[in-house]
Symmetry: C2
Subunit: 249 residues, 2 copies
DNA sequence: GTATACACTTTTGTATCCATATTCAGCGGG
DNA sequence: CCCGCTGAATATGGATACAAAAGTGTATAC
C-alpha cells in the first residue's frame, strides 16, 4: 500500500474522518458544513472551548447560516459542540473527569465487543486490522505533527474491532466516544512516545486476535485502554492552563 | 405519593420524557418542537415509519419550519428520525434485528453499570428505585392503554441505576436506547402480561440491590433483559404486517 | 386497459431579512 | 485606577420568501 499522508493534508484520511465529515464537494450543504468544521478543528483553527465561527463556515462552503445551524444541531447531540442560547455554539471542551468517564465507557463497550469480534473473526477482518496497524506505524514515522492523524487511525483500529462484533449501536457509540476524545480535547504536546507505545499494544492485540485466548486478548486491550487513559489524564492535568486560556478566549 | 396518571395525560410524566421533550410553554422553539413531536408519537398520531409533519408541528408550537428542522436534526443523531433528502423526515422504525442489537447493547451497558451502582448504592438511591418500582405497578393497574407510559417508567427504573454508577456517557447512551425502543417500535397489542412480569423482575432486582451479591443482581438483571427482548422480538414477528402497512402509508 | 408524457400542485431546502439579545467601546462616578 | 453604566455595533434566532425537487393528476398514445 502506498501511503502519502501528511498532517496538513486531510484528503487521504477520509475513511478515518468522523461520520459525515468527509469532504465531497457536491454533497448537501449540511454535510459540507460539518466537514468544514472538522477541518477547522483538525488544523487547530478552532480549538476546544472556542466559538464555532458560523459565518466563516457558511462563507467557505458557499451557503447561508441556515444549513450550518442544522449541521451544528447534529453535532450537538453527538456531544461535539454545545449550544449557548443567544450566543451560538462552542466546540466542547473535555475536562479530566470527562475523559476518565469516556475511558470507562470505552472499557465497558470494548471488552464486550472484543469477545464477539474474537468469536466472529475472519481472514478479512484480521487483514484489515493489520493494515490499520501498519498505517498507524507509518503515520507516526512520518514528518510533522501527526498527533490528530495518529489518533484518527487509532480510532479506526478500535472501531474496526467493534464493527466485527456486528452491533451497529455499539459501533456508533464507540466511534462517537473517539470523536469526542480526539476533537474536543486539547492535544498540543501530547507525548508521541505514548502513541508509539499504543502501536506496540495494538500489535499485541492483533497477535491475540490471530491466536490467543479471550483472556489474553482482554488483558492486552485493557493495557491499551488503561495506559492511554492514564497518559491523557496526566497530560491534561499538566496542561490545565491551556484550557483556561482557551476558555477565556 | 398521590398518583393520577392517565395514558392520555402526559403532564405528569415529564420526568420520564425523552431529553428535551418535556413541554414547558416558554422554552425555545427548538425544544418545543421536539416536545410536540414526542406527544404526537406517544399519542399514536405519528407512528414509526411515517413522515414527520413539519408544518403541523410548526403550526402547533407557533413557529416556522426553521426551528422545527433544527429539532429534527437533533433527533436525527439520536436515531429517532431519519432525513430523506428532499423528502423530509420520517419517524424511524425498528425491525426485529435492530431490537435484538439494542437489547444486546443494553446487556453490555447495564451489566457494567449495575456493578458500579451496587458498589455505590445509597439509601436515597434505593428509595428512588423503590418509588419508580411502585409507580410502574400503579401505572399498570390504572385504566386504559398504559403501554407507552409503562415503558417510560420502565426506562426510568433502568436509567436511574445507570445514573447511580456515575458515568454520564453510559447513562445517556442507555437512555437513548430506551427512547428508540419506546418511540420507534410499533407497540399496539404488546402483551400487558409481559409488562406485569417485568414489574416482578424489577422487584427482584430491587431486592438484590438492597441485599444481594453481585452475581444475584446480574442474574436478575439478565432475566429482565432477556425476557423483555424475547417478548418484543416475538411480538414484532407476529405483527410484521403492521410494519408493512405503516411503511406504505 | 395500461402505460407514458406533461403540466400543475405541493413540499422541501435554503437564502434573505428582521427583531432581539449580547458584546463592547466610551464615558462618568466612586 | 477600577467599576458600572449607556448606546452603538455585532451576532444570533427565527420568520419569510423563493427556487428546485418530488408528487399528483390528467390527457394522450399504444
Amino acid at each position: 500500500m502506498q501511503l502519502a499522508i501528511s498532517p496538513e493534508d486531510f484528503t487521504h484520511l477520509e475513511p478515518f474522518l468522523p461520520k459525515g465529515m468527509a469532504g465531497g464537494a457536491s454533497r448537501p450543504p449540511v454535510e459540507r458544513a460539518a466537514g468544514y468544521l472538522a477541518r477547522l478543528v483538525l488544523s487547530h483553527r478552532v480549538t476546544p472551548g472556542q466559538k464555532v465561527p458560523m459565518d466563516d463556515i457558511a462563507l467557505h462552503i458557499g451557503a447561508s447560516r441556515t444549513p450550518v445551524r442544522e449541521a451544528l444541531r447534529l453535532l450537538e447531540t453527538e456531544g461535539l459542540v454545545a449550544a449557548l442560547p443567544n450566543r451560538g455554539f462552542v466546540l466542547r471542551r473535555l475536562d479530566a473527569a470527562d475523559v476518565a468517564h469516556l475511558y470507562d465507557a470505552r472499557r465497558c463497550i470494548e471488552l464486550f465487543v472484543a469477545k464477539q469480534a474474537l468469536e466472529r473473526r475472519t481472514e478479512g477482518f484480521l487483514g484489515e486490522l493489520g493494515t490499520l496497524h501498519r498505517i498507524y506505524e507509518h503515520v507516526l514515522r512520518g514528518p510533522g505533527d501527526s498527533r490528530r492523524l495518529g489518533m484518527l487511525v487509532d480510532k479506526a483500529f478500535h472501531v474496526r474491532i467493534a464493527r466485527q462484533a456486528g452491533n451497529p449501536h455499539l459501533t456508533a457509540s464507540l466511534s462517537n466516544m473517539f470523536d469526542r476524545l480526539i476533537l474536543t480535547r486539547p492535544i498540543e504536546d501530547f507525548p508521541l512516545d505514548r502513541m508509539r507505545e499504543a502501536v506496540a499494544e495494538h500489535a499485541e492485540m492483533l497477535a491475540r486476535f490471530e491466536s490467543g485466548t479471550l483472556g489474553e486478548l482482554e488483558a492486552a486491550l485493557m493495557r491499551n485502554i488503561d495506559n492511554g487513559g492514564a497518559a491523557i489524564v496526566a497530560h491534561m492535568r499538566s496542561h490545565s492552563d491551556f484550557g483556561i486560556a482557551a476558555r477565556t478566549q
